[in-house]
Symmetry: C2
Subunit: 169 residues, 2 copies
Amino acid sequence: VPPPRPLAVDPIDQARENWVNAGWARAAGGMSVLTSVVRVSQILVSEVDAVLRPLGLTFARYEVLMLLRFSRAGELPLGKMGERLQVHPASVTNAVDRLEADGLVRRQPHPSDGRGVLAAITPAGRRRAAAASDQLNAVVFERVELPGDGLDTLYALLKDLRHRAGDFV
Amino acid sequence: VPPPRPLAVDPIDQARENWVNAGWARAAGGMSVLTSVVRVSQILVSEVDAVLRPLGLTFARYEVLMLLRFSRAGELPLGKMGERLQVHPASVTNAVDRLEADGLVRRQPHPSDGRGVLAAITPAGRRRAAAASDQLNAVVFERVELPGDGLDTLYALLKDLRHRAGDFV
DNA sequence: GAAGATTGAGAGTTCAATCTTC
DNA sequence: GAAGATTGAACTCTCAATCTTC
């Protein structure tokens, strides 16, 4: 396991400089923002996964669990979850398979549509979701910090990008 | 292929609201920023991959190619590339395998360290890198836009997060 | 013994194809 | 015919183990 030593200079700053020197100044801002977003995503997801691993969960399965936890009846059609989580139907099937094998979720027939399948959270699933949330809040979410209103500004800018990409209306 | 229809309401806003209602207001900001970063990363990387796919590249392999393109001698040790790109050594091996199979990169023995291996970009690799960069700049990077100095602000905030995570000194 | 690189196993995602039901 | 869900193949990433060279 190589302890990821911090680099002396910021590699993304270097890339940005390379872009400008190559005559691509107009694209330098977008390139460096994109690379930064990807890198921060890697960092944060690996922190989340490290917390969830001992609980037998991944970020994707945790999101499924929380979606059910916050739903009115504790159950949702698989397709709806795929839409909400913006993931491929096959990923939902896979996640529900794993959660069901661990007894955290149950598959149920859709009451009105014979094609559909509902996933329902079990009591064990609610307990696991609560434990995971407590740890994630304390160890990761509450420690994502920025000076001043940095977090709110960041959220608004990212929301703007998502909106422009057509992520929501 | 399901055309990802935009949702009527922002799912991350909903999650944020759920967090506050659950009594986790202190963690709501971090949770929604983290989820936003992950989502934007997914969107942008899939746009990049869509551009690179016809060129036989992925984002990871493109980054390797550009690292070599911007290096002084057009060649670097595999380990150095792993550090700069912040990826696992096995991922570098895999990327170089694919690039070498396509004739875009050549493996060379390290001149002074018998353990090391250099990857050197070939003329075909330079042509492929130039074509990929032209398209990425025009189709993706130049279209990542925000009003005012939004892009610079976003870059600075993400850099702050990376710095706090120990990504660089 | 430690560092650089490779290998094979395990997990997750995406895609195309399939099956059932509307 | 179209939609919901599942399956198997292909790909990528990560991890542990291995091999060579310092």
